[in-house]
């Protein structure tokens, strides 16, 4: 029986799980495929986080340092798990750096992949320079400057298109990515803070700023920052002769076609299942659910269990998830992993 916990993925979920298991005296091995810890918020250069308003590099940076400075946590960067043998309480894992890790339980915080807008060519990403993604605007905000990539001008008008890569049967994304509405309403405010004279339009089917994000993001964005909400799913983004972009669609509230000039078009990209999920499923012997996210086991008394005993899964590996909830998942998984191992030891004794 081995009581070491193997944590896969060093994003908010994995960092939280690793710190959690270490805090109750367990040895943790943390494996991250990238060379940098922190996951999507760090790798994609997010600006301020919802709802704390803290810069991602500060907030997630603290999580990284907490794990790095913990003597119970061994970290493998730029490393993948290539083989998992054994069973709950006695796993033997082979890493891509040829080391072997013996662990009693495995926590998967393997996260998601941003939707690649190239899969919606009609919305102009990859065709027009001034069509960008929310991730790119996050980076602009973090750098303190909002500009059109084509010529560096400050946009007079920004259109944010919601549900890009979400709620779209045409491209096999039948889920709501949960956070894009909140992220977009927040970005609209951040754009306004940097460039008060820019008008921001959000093209929506529904606004799903869940829980407390309703008034703190949606209402605030509309009422204090004068973000315009237009009910239209854009059909096509094209270019006008003067170089500005044209968003074409039907405004369903006025029942009229629209062709509106914009300077910058932002895709509010959704959360895809991690592109590595087929590989992860194979290596760890866990199941995928119908959309391609990692599947859950029984939820009510075996919370965060995967389909394989001794392997736990949480955060955005399960489904689109926000950072705060992912952090809670990580801590809950540490509790489950350590607790179930202790139970197994008791039973054996």
């Amino acid at each position: 029986m081995n009581d070491t916990i193997l944590v896969v993925g060093a994003g908010p979920t994995g960092l939280s799980a690793a710190a959690g298991a270490a805090s109750i005296g367990r040895n943790v091995v943390l494996v991250e495929k990238e060379n940098v810890l922190g996951g999507a918020p760090i790798l994609s250069g997010y600006a301020k986080l919802v709802p704390s308003g803290e810069w991602a590099k500060d907030a997630i940076g603290r999580m990284v340092r907490r794990v790095e400075s913990d003597s119970r946590v061994t970290i493998h960067r730029a490393t993948k798990v290539t083989r998992v043998e054994g069973d709950h309480g006695d796993f033997t894992c082979t890493l891509s750096n040829n080391q072997t890790v013996k662990a009693g339980a495995i926590i998967l915080g393997t996260g998601f992949t941003h939707f690649d807008s190239i899969n919606k060519p009609e919305w102009g990403f990859g065709t027009f320079e001034d069509v960008v993604t929310t991730t790119q605007v996050e980076q602009m905000v973090a750098a303190g400057k909002i500009a059109c990539p084509s010529d560096g001008r400050v946009p007079q008008r920004v259109a944010i298109l919601l549900c890009v890569g979400s709620r779209d049967r045409q491209i096999g994304r039948e889920w709501c990515s949960k956070i894009c509405c909140t992220v977009s309403t927040n970005l609209a405010m951040e754009i306004k803070e940097i460039s008060p004279r820019t008008d921001v339009f959000i093209y929506y089917m529904d606004i799903r700023t869940f829980g407390l994000y309703e008034d703190k993001y949606y209402w605030k964005s509309q009422e204090e920052f004068k973000t315009k909400f237009v009910k239209a799913r854009i059909a096509e983004v094209t270019k006008a002769p003067d170089g500005r972009l044209l968003v074409k669609g039907e405004d369903t509230l006025v029942k009229r076609p629209i062709v509106i000039p914009m300077d910058l078009v932002v895709h509010a990209i959704g959360m895809d299942p991690n592109a590595d999920n087929p590989e992860i499923a194979k290596v760890f012997g866990v199941g995928l659910e119908k959309h391609g996210f990692l599947d859950r086991g029984e939820q009510y008394t075996s919370t965060f269990s995967s389909t394989r005993r001794g392997i736990y899964v949480g955060g955005a590996a399960l489904a689109p998830e926000d950072i705060d909830t992912s952090i809670s998942h990580g801590l809950a998984m540490a509790m489950r992993a350590v607790g179930e191992l202790a139970g197994a030891v008791e039973k054996a004794a």
Partner: protein
């Protein structure tokens, strides 16, 4: 070929020539029907600020289009073209030409305020209706509403004399709105109205009774005297002028 969703088109958008020959082919009648594009090609994103400067329009930008106002609307129940939700949307995106298509019915709001009470975002749609009407009057899109004419006469007397005289407000209002006071009193609702105010039922009996009921004596006498002498509030002096100046200044500040 019928035009689907014809309700979406204004009649002037559908062009049909009775007689037309194109390249030697007779396409008279519905064969040559053309529809002008309905595409919205731009917004006026600051237009809502114009409406916000009119009393009642301050919260128009808060609307999220739930439709509670229209659903609860007294007027919508009678005329489905009366759609506050829609007008608020047009204000926020600045689709002014679309808005003006309904310019002749916006005044019909009866200020029951059911919309105000139900609105989850505290937009106060009733106030927006008022603000819209005032903006349209100021811009000359519509003639002054009867309520505006009433307000003007009311305010004029207040400023001039520091008080109003009911009968003068009434007569001037009826005159400005082209209503014949005598006809309304003898044949119309005004006579019935006065009769019903009369407390002595026996007076309503018989020819003379009915006449007397419609012709109260003392009150009109008092009113007539007031019209002739036009009494002012004591020590009113230049107060009215100063107030008038102030009101005009405030208007200039708000609407430029």
């Amino acid at each position: 070929m019928p035009i689907h969703e014809k309700t979406l088109l204004a009649p002037e958008q559908v062009l049909t020539s009775d007689k037309l020959v194109v390249d030697g082919v007779d396409v008279s009648g519905h064969w040559n029907t053309m529809i002008l594009p309905r595409t919205v090609t731009d917004y006026d994103p600051d237009f809502y600020q114009t409406i916000q400067k009119y009393g009642g329009g301050e919260n128009v930008h808060r609307c999220w289009q739930c439709g509670s106002c229209t659903n609860s609307c007294t007027m919508y129940a009678i005329n489905t073209d009366f759609n506050p939700r829609y007008w608020i949307y047009l204000v926020n995106l600045g689709m002014v030409s679309e808005l003006l298509k309904d310019k002749d019915i916006i005044w019909q709001c009866v200020s029951c305020n059911k919309c105000t009470n139900i609105c989850p975002k505290d937009v106060r749609p009733e106030g927006v209706m008022k603000a819209l009407q005032h903006w349209m009057e100021d811009q000359g899109h519509v003639p002054k509403a009867k309520s505006t004419l009433f307000d003007e006469e009311f305010a004029r007397q207040c400023l001039e004399r520091g008080r109003i005289e009911d009968s003068e407000v009434m007569t001037k209002f009826f005159k400005k709105t082209g209503q014949n006071l005598m006809e309304l009193a003898t044949k119309g609702w005004l006579g019935i109205f006065v009769a019903r105010m009369n407390k002595w039922n026996e007076l309503k009996e018989g020819r003379i009774g009915r006449f007397l009921a419609r012709m109260p004596i003392l009150h009109p006498l008092h009113m007539a005297l007031a019209i002739v002498f036009k009494p002012r509030t004591k020590s009113w002096g230049r107060t009215g002028e100063v107030l008038k100046q102030y009101v005009e200044e405030q208007k200039r500040v708000a609407h430029g």
